[in-house]
Symmetry: C2
Subunit: 325 residues, 2 copies
């Protein structure tokens, strides 16, 4: 007689501009089944919901056929431009739906399962708290460094949402060290104009234009990217290392202000640019301590996410149903 | 036969450097009984606790003798330098106790009543939510403008506390418009160097030194104070009005950054300097909207506290037992 294998699990959905990835995630953060499909194939909201519901159902079926019993706690979705109060996606520029998309409610109707939805950075913060570097922490700020700088703020064990679900736009807090840089938002001085991938490239181009030092960044074999800078740091290129120092300095100065908001235990760095082989968290911490109010000095850690690579967004989404909205 | 009058109430304690004020406060914010004593008469912690417990007991007795039945929900204390997690006062410079003072626990033992304790600015925020301008709001930021700039941040219906109870030091967030001003904290550029009473006097002295315009501020009959500036604004003095415009501009620019933290419904201005006859909330709102990220523009109100004068601190303290810690 074979014993039934029971899994307590959630479904994680990472809704991106190109791909939508779906995974069954168990309590330890393992993914016994996952799949993905092309987001752009479903410009009609209803079609997208139906495809997503089918995908979830197919994953359940696969596991049942393998002899598992599933206790599904709910579905969690990480996506851009989420209004977490309305559980909708609102005019995301890189998604096919320009009108308000009440995905939470629609998927709930299609699957009969409870659906939680949060913006990617907030989902990552919850994921970090559930499976990653912030496990056991009640107070931390997650900075996601990628195309932009996003953030998820957890204070007193609670992910801050705000009146319209728009809390935690720390990438658009402005700083004097960035006052000459125009942001995609139309303002000048936003943190992300220095610390997101495009900002780092901006810094590199400025340095290259004002020195004649040889550097692999001068001929990256195409358009210079943050990835090129990271690789050159590892290879020991002084120009790339200087770009990274400037980025770290900016992060440290920004974090010195952020700690006065929510008195966190740690700042957690996440995303493509936050690579411990390239970026120096200890340098960021030192700058932060230098600039911060005495009561916070020496008290706040700077850590890298331990949710690795492409799994992070999925794990973050999957952890949403485990926490209060 | 006289009917017993039942009052559901809390005890509010406003612990200040000079006076400690105590009041019984009912659900509508009325104070049927209150008293006060000199804080400095009790340099020993135990003596202070005993005096405070006696004072509370005396107020209960007065109301009982007047025929009231009391249902006391607890005691709330507003004080400087509170560690809300430890429920203690930690080395407040203007209080007689230099060592850690576990007032919460000690008063609980002395009275048998549950005791909540919070720093003054946080107590004011809870008071505003219970009895004042923020009644019914779940998301707002309270800025207390006085000798310093304090703040209490309420997000998702919850007063932010942080890892060590030190969340919400918005008066010490730094800004480029204040970069030449040294703060009492030892750093430069803190918001309070412009928007607290001393900062306003600083601005006034700078203006007076660079113009020869006649102004009542040139001879305030003693050392110039923020009070003098406020009075001169009401009297129509152009120099004082310019000081106030500069203060409002600074507040607006700061609030433009703060809204990106917690997506509030309103900024609420409280404290001696925040007087609607002198300060223009609509000007602050316009500057804030000018500088803030588009998603917040036109969405956030700027309001004055409706808790008036000396009652505010007491009402704030009294409302603490009605909310989760």
């Amino acid at each position: 007689m074979t014993r039934l294998k029971e899994i307590i699990c959630t479904v994680g959905v990472d809704l991106g501009g190109t791909n939508t990835r779906v995974a069954i995630v168990d309590a330890e953060g393992r993914m016994p089944a996952s799949s993905n499909f092309n987001t752009r194939d479903y410009p009609r909201q209803q079609d997208f919901v139906e495809r997503l519901a089918k995908e979830v159902d197919a994953l359940f079926r696969i596991l049942k056929e393998e002899g598992y019993t599933l206790r599904v706690k709910g579905i969690g979705i990480g996506a851009p431009c989420v209004d977490s109060r309305k559980r909708s996606i609102e005019g995301a520029t890189n998604l096919p739906w320009k009108e308000s998309f009440p995905l939470g409610r629609m998927l709930e109707e299609a699957t009969g399962l409870p659906v939680a939805i949060a913006n990617d950075a907030n989902a990552a913060a919850i994921g970090e708290m559930t499976y990653g570097a912030a496990r056991g922490m009640t107070d931390f700020i997650m900075l996601t460094l990628g195309t932009g700088v996003g953030s998820g703020i957890v204070c007193d064990g609670h992910l801050l949402s705000g009146k319209r679900g728009l809390a935690g736009e720390l990438g658009h807090v402005t700083f004097p060290f960035a006052s000459d840089r125009l942001c995609a938002c139309g303002r000048k001085g936003c943190l992300q104009t220095v610390c997101a991938s495009g900002g780092m490239v901006h810094t590199a181009l400025e340095l290259l234009a004002t020195t004649t030092d040889p550097s692999p960044l001068r001929q990256p074999g195409g358009k210079l990217s943050a990835r090129d800078i990271g690789k050159a740091v590892i290879a020991g290129d002084p120009v790339a290392k200087c770009v990274m120092r400037i980025t770290e300095e900016a992060l440290g100065r920004a974090c010195a202000e952020f700690v006065a908001l929510t008195d966190p235990e740690a700042i957690i760095l996440f995303g493509g640019v936050a690579n411990p082989e390239e970026m120096d968290a200890e340098h960021i911490r030192q700058v932060m301590d230098n600039y911060s109010l005495a009561i916070y000095r020496g008290r706040v850690k700077v850590l890298f996410s331990t949710l690795k690579g492409s799994q992070a967004a999925l794990l973050g989404a999957a952890s949403l149903p485990l926490h209060n909205p």
